[in-house]
């Protein structure tokens, strides 16, 4: 059947639900970048599944006009893996916050990375637990006097946070992630570009999207100072170089840090494929024979 190929615009990916985020929240930038990336790739909304956990960031799928799954806190990666292996035709995007991804959900990241599950994982990193009103997260920097901080944070850490923050890029690189990038929600063009690359990447594509929370940890000013592009001529093919930079960087470098081609999980362990009832029946009979 010859069907005219529909060309979709960013607005076509908007759902009927208006975002409930605070005005100025970084997550708006991420959302609109996602609309644009989907439009650039002209994805069919019925083939998109955006999976999320719990957090302000976790509300994102509600605002996207494709399929969405708003699950429980911290389980976005295994859920997304289930979706992808169940139907490898789908474009599966996992999103969530720094708490969702690196605290309660931190145990799932190494395994999604080493399996090379073919999904895009975008973490909206605001360095705080926002939905629960501002407790420190695994990425909260130890010194934070200069920025506006929530009452919860100052209650939780009256003398400041003592833990070394985790280093998401270094971690995912050490896990064997095959696509590692960082973006800033206030630089939407780059985020769109990286999202497009991530969606095209066959395997586990990780994007740390800096996405400040204006209400509980307003760090826009700091970030504007802090970010920088990757060094000129950066070659994203060396894991060792990327790791070295992740450990040593003084500014937070934005861009595609690392990419490699490696078979995706649905290729190595296979994915669900439709099978005729008769075929299944034959397999079963053979198996039963072996127990006779």
């Amino acid at each position: 059947m010859a069907e005219a190929i529909k060309v979709r615009k960013a607005a076509d990916y908007r759902s009927e639900t208006k975002p409930t985020w605070c005005p100025g929240c970084g997550d708006f930038g991420v959302l609109s970048a996602m609309y644009k990336a989907f439009a650039q790739l002209n994805l069919d909304p019925k083939q998109i599944v955006v999976v999320s956990g719990i957090g302000c960031s976790g509300r994102l799928p509600e605002f996207v006009g494709g399929y969405g799954f708003h699950g429980v806190h911290g389980r976005v990666l295994p859920t997304a893996m289930g979706v992808k292996l169940a139907n490898p035709e789908l474009t599966v995007v996992a999103v969530g916050g720094d708490g969702d991804g690196f605290a309660i959900g931190g145990g799932h990241v190494p395994h999604a990375a080493r399996r090379n599950v073919d999904i895009t994982y975008l973490v909206m990193d605001n360095q705080i637990y926002s939905l629960t009103k501002g407790q420190p997260s695994p990425t909260t920097p130890p010194g934070m006097a200069a920025v506006r901080v929530s009452p919860s944070m100052s209650k939780m850490a009256p003398a400041g946070v003592h833990e070394l923050p985790i280093n998401p890029l270094a971690m995912v690189l050490a896990y064997g992630g095959s696509f590692v990038a960082r973006a800033f929600s206030s630089q939407p063009n780059q985020l769109v570009e990286l999202l497009v690359l991530a969606l095209q990447h066959r395997g586990f594509a990780f994007i740390q999207a800096i996405s400040p929370c204006v209400t509980f940890y307003d760090s826009y000013d700091r970030w504007k100072e802090d970010v920088a592009p990757l060094p000129a001529g950066w070659d994203p093919s060396s894991r060792v170089r990327a790791l070295d930079l992740a450990l040593a960087e003084e500014k937070r470098h934005l861009g595609l840090w690392y990419r490699e081609e490696r078979p995706a999980y649905d290729e190595t362990i296979g994915a669900v494929r439709p099978v005729a009832a008769a075929e299944r029946a034959a397999v079963l009979e053979r198996l039963l024979d072996s127990f006779a």
Binding site: P61, G66, Y67, G82, I269, F291
Partner: protein, 573 residues
């Protein structure tokens, strides 16, 4: 009377002991005999005392048996451990090189120098299991030709080992025929002309049932005594277009299953108590999003890490009530290996039909013993797939309030009506909504939908007279020995009836209530301390039941239950 032999072989773990059970079961089953076998693995990985027990009969058997007709002891330690279980008049075979001459005078003791035969006549330790099998086979009347054919088939792919094993068969038969006195010979079992049979463990039957039900995605994490389900599926599910993931923990297993179910596939996981405990949060999500999922829970001794290699029925409360908020689901429990196959198929059907998680409760003994069962026929259970949105629907409401509470679902990639599932309270359109009205309506929708499953037929089995003095209720793996005790009690003219609910939630209240009205006294028999089914029944029906519990890590024997019955109704008999 029918012939019915209980045989135990006891030795050191790692000497091929367990394979005696496997080989013998298969051979006996091929003869058309009924076989029920189990073994107790030792606490250590290697070494340690171990035993395998086989019950062989020409009529159906439902439990592992009780006092032994025959004990074969491979060494002194194991002799000492098990000699007390040999019935008076029974047959003891002992290896005289490893055991002192036995002391019991009420049994026939015959020295069977297994190790010496191995050493001197076979000159290779490997076929000790086949040698032991041959001795036993000869004693219970398996024709030698049959045993040989069987061993030939068995070692088809190991031509190098075949001659050794054939020698072992020969020596075993020879020894039994020449050296075992007539007194030691057992009532011979005649080959039966039975329907085709397969020998399966409960875990294998569950895995096969899942495949027959159309399982497409499985994720699991190893745990005793459930791992074999995942291992089996890892080998075989791909042939049916399915995928198996060994995930990093049980939480991730169920999350992946839920994701795959959201994507429209039939998905399952299998675990044991500690794993089920970790799945509680996600079970609530599946209820809230109304997603089908099958969770097989093979119960073991608890609490906590407990007794991983022992059996118990201690997870019913968790299966029914392990959720925050009122999040109903369906709980099933098959009662024997054959039902493990069919009820797993039903579990998938119910999950799809009611769009709900279904927990299937097995237990260590049911899961790891093997039974010769009539070859399962997948066609007996027509498959159900979830109700999906009608072609061309424009006003799609994922959680439409329908008469039966079941709403059509849209599947990513398949239907042009995307929606966002959420674990927050939501309205018919799946939009987040905290209003009192929506919450009330949706709470009732979910509750009533599952409540309706009580009307599903075939999940309650009643036996015995229409009216009885004593009514027993039991579930899951306890049912086998209860059935046997019931048969024996009926023969004694005792007035006992039995009700077995295979659906435990929603509780089949009507059937239980009718049953209780038909008996003078109801006793719930289950393998736990607190009486979990008894509590459920009381909580729903408000009628007192008595409890017969066992919590030793070992299954009930029919004798235990029979003597309970005799105590309870015997004084009238």
């Amino acid at each position: 009377m029918a012939v019915d032999l209980t045989i135990r072989v006891a030795g050191e773990n790692g000497e091929g002991l367990l394979s005696v059970g496997v080989v013998a079961s298969q051979a006996f089953a091929r003869m058309g005999l009924n076989v029920y076998s189990f073994n107790t693995p030792p606490a250590e990985i290697k070494g340690g005392p171990s035993m395998v027990q086989l019950r062989v009969s020409d009529h159906p058997v439902h439990s592992q048996g009780d006092a032994l007709d025959l004990l074969m002891a491979w060494n002194q330690e194991n002799h000492d451990r098990h000699i007390g279980s040999l019935k008076s008049g029974g047959l003891l075979l002992y290896d005289p090189g490893e055991c002192r001459p036995p002391e019991r005078s009420d049994v026939t003791a015959v020295a069977v120098p297994l190790n010496q035969i191995i050493r001197e006549q076979i000159r290779n330790p490997r076929p000790k299991n086949v040698l032991a099998f041959a001795v036993l086979a000869s004693l219970i009347g398996v024709p030698r030709g049959f045993a040989e054919t069987f061993v030939r088939q068995k070692f088809q792919k190991r031509a190098d080992l075949l001659p050794l094993n054939l020698t072992a068969v020969e020596r075993g038969y020879q020894f039994a025929q020449e050296c075992i006195p007539a007194a030691g010979k057992l009532a011979p079992l005649a080959p039966q002309d039975a329907a085709p049979r397969v020998i399966l463990t409960g875990n294998q039957a569950v895995a096969l049932g899942a495949m027959a039900a159309g399982l497409q995605f499985f994720a699991g994490y190893p745990i005793t005594p459930a791992s074999e389900i995942m291992e089996f599926l890892s080998q075989h599910l791909a042939a049916c277009g399915g995928v198996v993931v060994q995930s990093e923990d049980e939480i991730s297993s169920l999350a992946a299953v839920i994701g795959a179910s959201f994507a429209g596939r039939k998905a399952a996981t299998a675990t044991s108590g500690p794993g089920l405990a970790l799945m509680v949060e996600l079970l609530g999500l599946a209820t809230m999003q109304e997603l089908p999922a099958v969770i097989i829970n093979v119960q073991r001794g608890g609490p906590s890490t407990g007794l991983p290699t022992r059996t118990e029925q201690g997870d019913l409360d968790l299966a029914v009530y392990g959720r925050h908020g009122d999040a109903p689901r369906i709980v099933l429990a098959p009662t024997n290996v054959e039902e493990c196959f069919y009820d797993t198929m039903h579990a998938f059907n119910l999950a799809e039909k009611y769009q709900t998680p279904v927990i299937l409760l097995s237990d260590q003994h049911l899961a790891q013993r093997s039974e010769a069962v009539p070859r399962p026929d997948p066609a007996r259970v027509p498959l159900v797939r979830r109700r999906t949105v009608a072609e061309g629907t424009t006003d799609f409401r994922r959680y439409a309030l329908t008469a039966d509470g079941i709403s059509p679902v849209a599947v990513p990639g398949e239907h042009d009506t995307p929606f966002v599932g959420t674990g927050l309270e939501h309205d018919e359109r799946a939009h987040i909504d905290y209003s009192a009205h929506t919450h009330e309506v949706m709470m009732r929708k979910r509750q009533n939908k599952i409540g309706n499953a009580e009307n599903e037929r075939g999940f309650v089995v009643r036996s015995g007279p229409a009216r009885a003095e004593l009514g027993l209720i039991c579930w899951g793996g306890t049912t086998g020995p209860v059935r046997e005790a019931l048969a024996a009690a009926e023969q004694q003219g005792l007035s006992v009836a039995l009700l077995v609910p295979k659906m435990l939630w929603p509780l089949p209240e009507r059937a239980i209530s009718e049953f209780m009205a038909s008996v003078d006294k109801t006793v719930v028999v289950e393998m736990n301390l607190s009486g979990q089914l008894a509590n459920l029944i009381q909580s729903r029906l408000c009628r007192p039941v008595q409890r017969l519990g066992k919590y030793s890590g070992m299954p009930f024997t029919a004798t235990e239950i029979l003597s309970f019955i005799e105590g309870a109704v015997g004084h009238h008999g």
